[in-house]
């Protein structure tokens, strides 16, 4: 708190009345001496009267009254020493002195009164001058100073009733101002003041406790008035006087005090308002100055009137003053800015410009990407502008807030690129094809152009190239070839460069790099500005390629963040390429391995038709444990179908071993059961259990009249024989190979007659999973029913599995079908007769499959079919003629028979003709027909021209 000290000149002024008083006293004493010694009393008396008048001119009323009283006392007491006591002259003198003194006092009072009014008016005027941005506290202090100087001995302005201002000022001309101030602060000073001023005489018995500090300060009278600001009482004004100086306050002082309080209120209001405004401005300014976002305020016609520090920095300027000194065009020139859609930013695209031009009062925020022309720094900003209108609706200013969203954009962008790259690179085996897409992904957001190279020795094969300007793509490719080189180290090993970032490509660098002036020129022409090279590298191992990002036309400078992004892309690409390589390698190994488990193609086994199908389990299993094999042994042809428990490489190895063992033993001994035994001993010896289920058949040679073949099963489904369309499981179950060392295997004989088909299959067929259950034996039998020949049988199983299966299968499946051919013995020229045999055999097969087109294709257009069996059932005398006739025959068969099966058991061929011995089985309702038949075919150019049937009577078996 500020102490109010008395100043020296004021002390002099206060002492003056006492000097005057002393001088008048001396004068009166001198007068008395003169009166006593001289008779010329009149002048002396006149002089005595002068004292009070002098005092009235110079001193206060009080002082004048003292001087006048002294003069009067002298006059009254003068008979004591005057030479003519009681004389008329004497009485006259006394009267003159008394009247003169009274007049002097009246004069003094009048003078004092006029001076008080004058001072009060001046005070009010001075207080009214207290305007300007001084603040409430300072204004209060100056008010108390002025009051004490002018109209009171002490003044306290206590504004603590206003909770907003909470200020106190106290001032005293005579007493201890600090004590008053303290008292006011401590709320020891003051009494309840209502709407109007009140006067308190401090030396009267009615003592208000709140006025004690004033009393202690020597004050005798006080007046207190409420201070109002905007009709609200904010505090109180206290004036106090000592009795000895300004005297008591009287009721007629109250209007002035009220006026004074009113004027003070006005001053405080001004001071407060302007100070508050200033404070608000200061706070706002501070907030704007310290904002991270750049704030620009533009006024129509004035341009930029405010910029904060962030705005200056974002423009590459040192401080806001530099912004105000620049024109918007100058500022814009520093940046090469583009809108989000890539178009160049024009000045009228700014939201503030849109507002100023009246195009749009609430334009959407604008996002731009700028590249600083000098530094190459890339910056994303979001600019939002708000108009400010005055009361008349006229545009006062626009406030543009520019946020730097580079970090956000960057994060978004990195995330997007990495996510897209991740998707791209999941391309499995074809990932190389996606390297071009990877390059496309990076351009133009991350770089002006991008090259993906795969190392081929010390040069890179450009696997992907992308340029923001498609027309310059080929040029970029040529530049990339120059840039992407590896150098052989001292040890002759090609070195892999670590991630390389060149923020600014200098000409010196090009000179160092270029191999000869010609290349230098080409590199210079490429306009390289900034460069990143990162290795494309699998997680472990050497770099297999290089990813190169180049900025040229955009003038952008790459940052370490760009390099990190590129490095991550390089890592991901490396991983993907490595995975693809491993995938291919695995596929190749798997294919090789699988091929080693199956015969390349089924051999031609005389007298038999063979067909096989193999399908691997789900793609992730690679190599299954199923195998089949067909080969010749001393005892005839052997066929195996087997399944090694397990999958993958271990199973494949075991499968290869099983297949080899079985084949070797069979080839040496011609005994399939013995082959099982040898394999069993081999597998059972192993610590880790290895089992193989296998089914083998040993086929009788083609020419053998007997139809016996040997079948052995070890832990394997028994083969199914299809005879005349009916299915039947044959053979006996045996213990799985490899399970127990003490196992014996034996083969049993089954009959396989011409036309029969034997189907061997692995349990993968039975276990194939459908939507609700597994394929099972019943479905397999149903599929095989009515199968005609080996190829048909396998096709039916495959079709049924296709229809049934659902999802990825856990086990692989193998099916091998062996069809015993009907006998065909050739006479004459086998070379020529083969064609006839094939044609006739094809016709029987086509008939079995009811494939009319296939049958007609093997007949000459003028074919004649004399088929008496069917003809006679329909009462038809005429043979079937031509292709249409053949079709008619197929239709008649369907009408005449519920079922008709032709068995071509034995064929004998000569050029131009084939004789078929066989039988037919027909069914019509409950009637069954089974007769031996001989067909006689004539052919021309491999096409049948006629057939005649000869009934050979009921079939004898």
């Amino acid at each position: 708190m500020r102490a109010v000290a008395a100043t020296p000149d004021r002390r002099v002024a206060n002492a003056a009345p006492w000097l005057v008083f002393a001088a008048s006293l001396g004068l009166v004493v001198g007068l008395m001496v003169l009166d006593a010694s001289s008779s010329a009393a009149q002048p002396v008396t006149a002089t005595v009267v002068l004292g009070p008048f002098l005092a009235s001119m110079l001193c206060t009323v009080r002082q004048t009254a003292i001087v006048a009283a002294t003069a009067c006392a002298g006059a009254i007491l003068s008979p004591a020493w005057t030479s003519d006591p009681g004389s008329t002259l004497h009485v006259l003198r006394i009267t003159v002195v008394l009247v003169g003194s009274g007049l002097a006092v009246i004069a003094a009072r009048e003078r004092a009164r006029s001076s008080i009014v004058e001072r009060r008016l001046r005070l009010l005027a001075d207080i009214a001058d207290l305007t300007g941005n001084v603040g409430v506290q300072r204004a209060a202090e100056r008010v108390t100073d002025l009051v004490v100087d002018g109209v009171a001995d002490a003044c306290v302005l206590d504004l603590r009733r206003d909770t907003n201002t909470r200020r106190v000022a106290a001032r005293s001309a005579v007493g201890d101002a600090d004590a008053l101030l303290r008292a006011a602060h401590e709320r020891r000073l003051g009494i309840a003041v209502g709407d109007r001023p009140v006067i308190r005489q401090l030396d009267l018995p009615r003592r208000d406790q709140g006025l004690a500090p004033l009393r202690e300060a020597g004050m005798a009278s006080a007046v207190m008035a409420p201070v109002r600001v905007r009709e609200r009482i904010v505090g109180e004004l206290t004036l106090a006087n000592r009795r000895s100086s300004r005297g008591r306050f009287a009721t007629d002082d109250l209007p002035f005090v009220q006026a004074l309080a009113g004027r003070i209120g006005l001053v405080l209001e001004n001071a407060g308002l302007s100070a508050e405004l200033q404070e608000a401005e200061r706070r706002f300014g501070t907030a704007l100055d310290e904002m991270d976002a750049a704030v620009l305020i533009q006024r129509p016609g004035e341009g930029i009137v405010y910029a904060n520090q962030a705005a200056a920095e974002s423009m590459g300027l040192a401080n806001p003053a530099a912004v105000l000194a620049s024109t918007p065009e100058e500022i814009g020139r520093e940046w090469e800015s583009r809108l989000e859609d890539g178009s160049r930013l024009t000045p009228d695209a700014y939201p503030s410009a849109q507002i100023m031009s009246g195009r749009d009062q609430h334009p959407p925020a604008m996002v731009t990407r700028g590249v600083h022309r000098l530094t190459g720094v890339e910056r994303w900003v979001r600019v939002h502008a708000t108009p400010v209108f005055d009361d008349d609706g006229a545009l006062q200013m626009t406030v543009s807030v520019t946020e730097d969203i580079t970090a956000i954009k960057r994060a978004e962008f990195v995330q997007r690129i990495l996510a897209q790259a991740g998707e791209l690179l999941q391309g499995g085996a074809t990932v190389e094809g996606t390297l071009q897409e990877l390059a496309d992904l990076v351009v133009p957001d991350a770089a002006d152009w991008c090259a993906v190279g795969l190392w081929r020795g010390d040069a890179a094969e450009i696997a992907g190239i992308s340029h923001s300007d498609a027309a310059r793509r080929d040029a970029a490719r040529a530049t990339a070839r120059q840039l992407l080189r590896r150098t052989a180290g001292d040890d002759g090993v090609l070195t892999d460069d670590p991630p390389l970032l060149v923020a600014r490509v200098t000409d010196e660098m090009l000179e160092d790099y270029a191999d000869g002036p010609e290349e230098l020129e080409r590199l210079r022409a490429a306009g390289l500005r900034s460069l990143i090279q990162v290795p494309i590298c699998p997680p472990e191992g050497a770099a297999i390629g290089v990813l190169c990002l180049v900025n040229a036309e955009s003038h952008r400078a790459f940052t370490s963040a760009d390099r990190d992004l590129a490095a991550e892309l390089g890592r991901r690409a490396g991983l993907a390429l490595e995975n693809a390589r491993l995938y291919r390698e695995r596929t190749r190994i798997a294919e090789t391995l699988q091929a080693s488990l199956l015969p390349e193609q089924l051999p031609d086994v005389p007298g038999y038709d063979l067909a096989a199908a193999y399908r691997a389990a789900g793609t992730e299993n690679w190599v299954g444990g199923d195998f089949y094999d067909v080969f010749e042994t001393p005892a005839g042809w052997a066929a195996f179908v087997g399944d090694v428990a397990g999958q993958g490489a271990a199973a494949a190895a075991l499968t290869a071993r099983a297949r080899h063992t079985l084949r070797t033993v069979c080839v040496l001994t011609g005994d399939i059961a013995q082959a099982f035994g040898v394999l069993n001993a081999d597998l059972a010896e192993r610590d880790e259990i290895a089992m193989c289920s296998v089914c083998a058949v040993l086929l009788p040679s083609a020419g053998a009249r007997d139809a016996e073949l040997r079948v052995a099963c070890a832990g394997h489904p028994r083969p199914i024989r299809i005879r005349d369309g009916a299915t039947e499981e044959l053979g006996a179950w045996g213990t799985i190979v490899g399970a127990y060392a003490d196992t014996w295997f034996e083969a049993v004989s089954v009959a396989l007659e011409p036309g029969d088909v034997l189907v061997l299959y692995t349990d993968g067929v039975l276990d194939a999973r459908g939507e609700r259950d597994r394929f099972g034996e019943a479905r397999l039998h149903a599929a095989l029913r009515d199968a005609r020949g080996a190829t048909d049988a396998v096709a039916r199983v495959e079709r049924a599995l296709d229809e049934f299966s659902s999802g990825s299968q856990a086990d692989d499946t193998a099916v091998l079908a062996i069809g015993r051919q009907t006998r065909d013995i050739q006479y004459g020229d086998p070379g020529n007769a083969r064609r006839e045999l094939d044609a006739v055999r094809g016709i029987y097969a086509a008939f079995a499959a009811r494939d009319i087109d296939a049958a007609v294709a093997r007949m000459a257009p003028d074919v004649e079919l004399h088929l008496r069996g069917t003809q006679s059932r329909l009462g038809r005398g005429e043979p079937y003629r031509g292709h249409d006739g053949a079709r008619e025959y197929f239709g008649d068969v369907a009408r005449a028979w519920d079922e008709l099966v032709l068995h071509a058991d034995d064929m004998r061929a000569a050029p131009g003709s084939v004789v078929v011995f066989g039988h037919v089985e027909g069914r019509q309702g409950g009637e069954r027909v089974e007769r031996a038949v001989m067909w006689t075919w004539t052919l021309r150019d491999g096409l049948a021209t006629s057939v005649r049937t000869s009934d050979m009577g009921p079939r004898r078996t």
Binding site: I689, S693, D773, R774
Partner: protein, 124 residues
């Protein structure tokens, strides 16, 4: 094998979820899987049987399917038990599962445990 309702009369079950419980009857450690034993689930059966230190039994009553990988585990455990002088037995299950053992030619070689001695709920 199935004293209750004939299998064909049961409502068509949804693809059974595999589960496995291990019971100790005092004499036998009974490993009782529920659902299909195939390449996807066989490892759990194998490790449960490996953990059984004494006489072990595999309860096939709630097993709906058994493939060669399961067969391999059964034979492996049978062999291992013989070598270690322990007992290993099967609690017979459905005809389908039994048929797998018959096809493999091992049905007669494996010891059987009467369901009454195997504890557990078995079937209704």
């Amino acid at each position: 094998m199935d004293p209750g309702i004939p299998r064909s009369a049961r409502p068509a079950p949804p693809p059974p979820a595999f589960d496995l419980t291990v019971r100790d009857t005092g004499t036998w450690i009974v490993v009782a899987p529920t659902g299909d034993i195939d390449i996807a689930t066989v490892d759990r059966v194998r490790s449960a049987l490996r953990d059984a230190k004494g006489d072990a039994a595999l309860d096939l009553r709630e097993v709906t399917f058994l493939d060669t990988s399961g067969l391999r585990v059964i034979i492996q455990e049978d062999r291992r038990a013989r070598e270690e002088g322990r007992r290993f037995a099967l609690v017979a299950g459905s005809p389908e599962v039994l048929r797998v053992l018959e096809i493999a030619g091992v049905a007669d070689r494996l010891d059987r445990l009467d369901p009454a001695d195997a504890g557990g709920g078995g079937h209704a």
